[in-house]
Amino acid sequence: MEDLSGFPLEIVGENSPMVSFKKVRKSYGSLVVLDDLDLDVAAGEMVSVIGPSGSGKTTVLRMLMTLEKINGGVIYVDGKPLTHMDKGGKLLLANDKHLRTRRSDIGMCFQHFNLFPHMTAIQNCMEGPVQVLGLSKAEARDRGEELLELVGMIDKKDQHPSRLSGGQQQRVAIARALAMRPKVMLFDEVTSALDPEVIGEVTNVIRKLVSEHNLTMLMVTHQMGFARDISDRVCFFYGGKIEEQGPPAELFGNPKRERTQQFLSAVKEAV
């Protein structure tokens, strides 16, 4: 078993990060997807993750949502270990119970929305609050309607997902995730499956969240312009590591690493 004695049981301090990846490894067989990744995200920070496919960027979000098992290192959320639990001063791989207590800090939106098709928009938003948080139906409905209002979907609240366009489904999915009141929101290529003309309605919602809410956000995206506009920081992933990171103006305007330059010019050509 991996020796985790070098990892802290807790990260304390005023400026301790909301999310912290410490030497995180993930591999599928011999394929290394994340290679001793270190990444800190401050509370309230908006970090965009860009990079070629297979660079491990989506895996970062999936690990944080605990959809993938960790193969090495530790992930901390809000100072406490997420992927591991403190058993008498030693970090052990988290069991289901631990994951369920820690996972509540994190919400996620997916590329293909993944709304529950047998529930209406409002039911999708109420499901977690009622079934997981134990809210009454009335409370959950109030919360859900407030959030559907926020994403501009209140007039479609009684529609099933099959009746909604991709952009509308994604906005409902954002409301569903927010209904759980997460501290960290993850956006995994949320506009990649959308028709070009509806991308704006989803990015506008995310813009609103950035400007009006103090959420910590991690976003994997292929939309360089959008990432440049709204991020506090952009991380360029290559080969399971952060090849280069910095404020968007710097990373996009004056990339220092050759691979970053190559990637950005390739992306530009494609547009």
Binding site: M65, T66, L67, D96, R100, R103, S104, I106, G107, M108, F110, H112, N114, L115, F116, P117, H118, T120, E127, G128, Q131, V132, Q159, H160, P161, S162, R163, A173, R176, A177, M180
Partner: protein
């Protein structure tokens, strides 16, 4: 004896037999659904003992003949101290047999639900049990309903075998009437038509309606 006379004479017995067939079918179908759900879920368990138990059940009841199973339950189990009344033995055998097929349908239905649904349920921090009950099973059910329609028809037709342990179902009545009248064509022809009507004009439309109903609940239709 004209066919009309023949029918007016034996109609009440055929109808009482049809009633027993319907009861055998309904009880067997309910047991099938229950067993299918339990063993279908068990077969997907990561616990080896639980999964193994489900595999053994499914293999035994799918791999051997329903008639032999029926005889085992009615004639052999009493030797081990478990005596079932013939009516009960009939639908229990049917349910145990079809439940093994149904378990595979349940498993297939669950696996047909996209991975994204499991992940979305996990992302709102649902427990595994709640995720299965609230998110996965409702969708799996819709996906597997067409296959269940076939299985239900198989169960109905399979009930004819219970006549061999003297349950007084439609087939049993038909054989009795045949033995006393030798009007084989008339009586077995009538039985054939009754089974066909039950399967094609009652059961199949009901399953179609159920498919449509569930699809509407999913907002698909």
């Amino acid at each position: 004896m004209s066919f009309f006379e023949f029918m007016s004479l034996y109609w009440p017995r055929l109808m009482s037999g049809t009633g027993v067939t319907a009861a055998q079918f309904l009880l067997g179908a309910v047991l099938t659904v229950g067993l299918a759900l339990v063993f279908g879920l068990m077969k997907m368990s990561s616990n080896r003992a639980i999964k193994g138990f489900a595999v053994v059940y499914i293999e035994i009841f799918r791999g051997t003949s329903l008639l032999v199973q029926l005889y085992w339950i009615f004639f052999v189990l009493p030797l081990f101290g478990i005596t079932l009344e013939k009516f009960t033995a009939g639908w229990v055998a049917i349910g145990l047999n079809a439940g093994a097929y149904g378990a595979e349908l349940v498993r297939g239905g669950i696996m047909s639900v996209p991975k994204g649904q499991w992940e979305a349920a996990t992302a709102i921090n649902m427990s595994a049990a709640r995720r299965m009950r609230r998110i996965i099973l409702p969708q799996a059910l819709v996906n597997m309903l067409p296959a269940w329609g076939n299985l239900m028809v198989e169960i109905l037709k399979g009930t004819a075998l219970v006549s061999l342990i003297s349950v007084t179902d439609l087939m049993f009545e038909a054989k009795q009437i045949n033995a006393s009248t030798y009007l084989s064509a008339q009586i077995f022809g009538t039985a054939l038509v009754i089974y066909y009507i039950l399967a094609r004009f009652l059961l199949t439309p009901f399953m179609r309606w159920l498919e449509g109903f569930m699809a509407r609940k999913l907002g698909r239709a």
